[in-house]
Symmetry: C2
Subunit: 329 residues, 2 copies
């Protein structure tokens, strides 16, 4: 039986596919390739198509014996979500509804789902725990929370079991050096910092250096993409064991400041990285980190690449050898 | 300029259309006629079509100068929602997304929305107030809550102002005697009781007579459908005045017991209504009534047909003169 990975040609998706293949799993990928890259797939059977296309979903479920789904496919730019809510409801909420309908028809009853720590909104406390209040502060987070709630009803009514994984920033690249991070446009700190080291950008913008943190810059949570991949696969194992639906944070517990990321990148690359201090951005809390105690104890998740230097070194390995990512824009 | 009423050929929709026409408003109706009745429309311009059909929405907004939308179109059977969640997410959530997209494209920025007191789930206290916890106990309530949350984001991001009206049971019929309640299947107490009086049913089932209420039967909240229609139109006026988005309960504050409804129906009809006491149903709270203090003070809503006898008399006026509703099944 195979595992279906939606959005399997995306950043976290492709690393999860690589990890599944390493473990001898049969993999089927559904990806529209709108933001994903065909080159990022190290194997598996690819269907190029959209979640909202019920015909391709029916074909995929008919042609393959799918045991479980790992669901990454979604629009995930916070800024864009606050300009075009229809796109986010359509891709994320309606897309997930179509996927669940396809699973129901095919009798597939396990789904692991890439949620987000943006479901919490402004945190009540840090590190954030799974039982904390969810109150998204943007449409992206709202659509992911809606997807979680939808899944809880598909569980209650139809017995489709789910695991939702909530995390902040994926970072780093695959140990093989073959796949890594390539978003267009790029909005994530570590690739932006490394592109600055590569002189593809003049400087890296730091939004505020007067926060109540040790060095004045914001503290954020980064998890190595291969550790995230591992967590998604552990969640499949968890559901295979007959466990009920659940929600887990994937956090590093401490977080790293923006300045710390830049300094570590300078050290790893040996290159200059000019910084441009700018005004704080509205809605940026000083510290955003999630507790992963529950994932550690229940899933046995033990992120082995949690060291910032190792994360940045693996990212640099990819960026320095693929300065144009997967190719010309 | 016209008011678009989605689901305008439904029970509450048709009474709202009648009320709008009485007040000289121009009315456009979108209704698929899947559960609505063409005969229930006393006027207005009807488009037969589905919310999820983006072409008919575009045509409707192009051909009419729509000022505001009153949105009733939805699937609304609690029991069905717990068997077929896809239908409820598709008709209610995705349908509303399509409607909001159409409004955005046409520049329409006011929507009044038929929500439900089922958004609260098991009440924390009665009467329920708008600030009470929302925790739906069925898919129907969940989809309506999701629609409310979606609208709050379309307000924040695009400035589309909304009023959500939460209520339990609409009841009664139009004073003209021309329109009334005809659901197929019928699941509402008052029509079922009156169909029993008409000998169309052998007996009326009462689920539990050992609740901690005065007569042992459940207490529920009934609002005359014409008072609901009035509240929807007041909400349009409220948005026209430039007021921001808001949520209001429409409740009668006290509620009526099932036994009280049956006894009053016997009195109004002068007919025998055999009762069959059955086991309690899972998930039926003893008392469900909503406070309407906020709607009274902010919208100036003053339900003038709140008397149970008057509600049942108006329903009986319709049922006795239309024993087959709008026609053969």
């Amino acid at each position: 039986m195979a595992i279906l990975v939606t959005g399997g040609a995306g950043y976290i998706g492709s690393h999860t596919v690589a990890e599944l293949l390493d473990r001898g799993e049969e993999v089927v990928v559904l990806d529209s390739l709108v933001t994903g890259h065909r080159e990022s797939l190290l194997g598996g059977k690819l269907y190029v198509g959209d979640l909202r296309d019920k015909e391709i979903l029916a074909k995929l479920f008919a042609e393959n014996d799918i045991e479980a789904v790992i669901h990454f496919a979604a629009s995930s730019l916070v800024g864009e979500s606050m300009k075009d809510p229809v796109k986010y409801y359509d891709n994320n909420v309606y897309g997930t509804q179509c996927l669940l309908e396809g699973m129901q028809k095919a009798g597939v009853d396990k789904i692991v789902f890439s949620s987000t720590a943006a479901t919490y909104g402004e945190p009540e406390k840090v590190p954030i725990e799974e039982t904390d209040r969810t109150q998204p502060s943007n449409v992206y987070g709202e659509t992911k929370l809606t997807m979680e709630r939808m899944m809880s009803w598909f569980d209650k009514v139809l017995g489709i079991k789910y695991v939702a994984l909530r995390y902040f920033n994926a970072a780093g690249a695959h140990a093989s050096g073959k796949i890594g991070e390539d978003h267009r446009p790029e909005s994530h700190l570590i690739p932006l910092v490394l592109q600055t080291a590569l002189k593809q950008r003049e400087s890296i913008a730091v939004f505020g250096d007067d926060y109540p943190t040790e060095d004045g810059t914001c503290i954020r949570d980064y998890i190595h993409v291969s550790d995230l991949a591992d967590a998604h696969i552990r969640a499949v194992t968890y559901l295979r064991s007959g466990s009920g639906s659940n929600v887990f944070n994937l956090g590093n517990g401490l977080g790293f400041s923006v300045k710390e990321v830049i300094e570590t990148a300078k050290e790893v690359t040996g290159l200059d990285i000019p910084v441009a201090i700018q005004e704080r951005r509205a809605g940026d809390p000083a510290v955003l980190v999630a507790s992963s105690d529950k994932a550690r104890s229940v899933l046995g998740w033990n992120p082995s690449r949690a060291d910032l230097k190792e994360i940045i070194r693996s990212a640099w390995n990819w960026h320095s050898s693929h300065p144009q990512g997967y190719g010309e824009a």
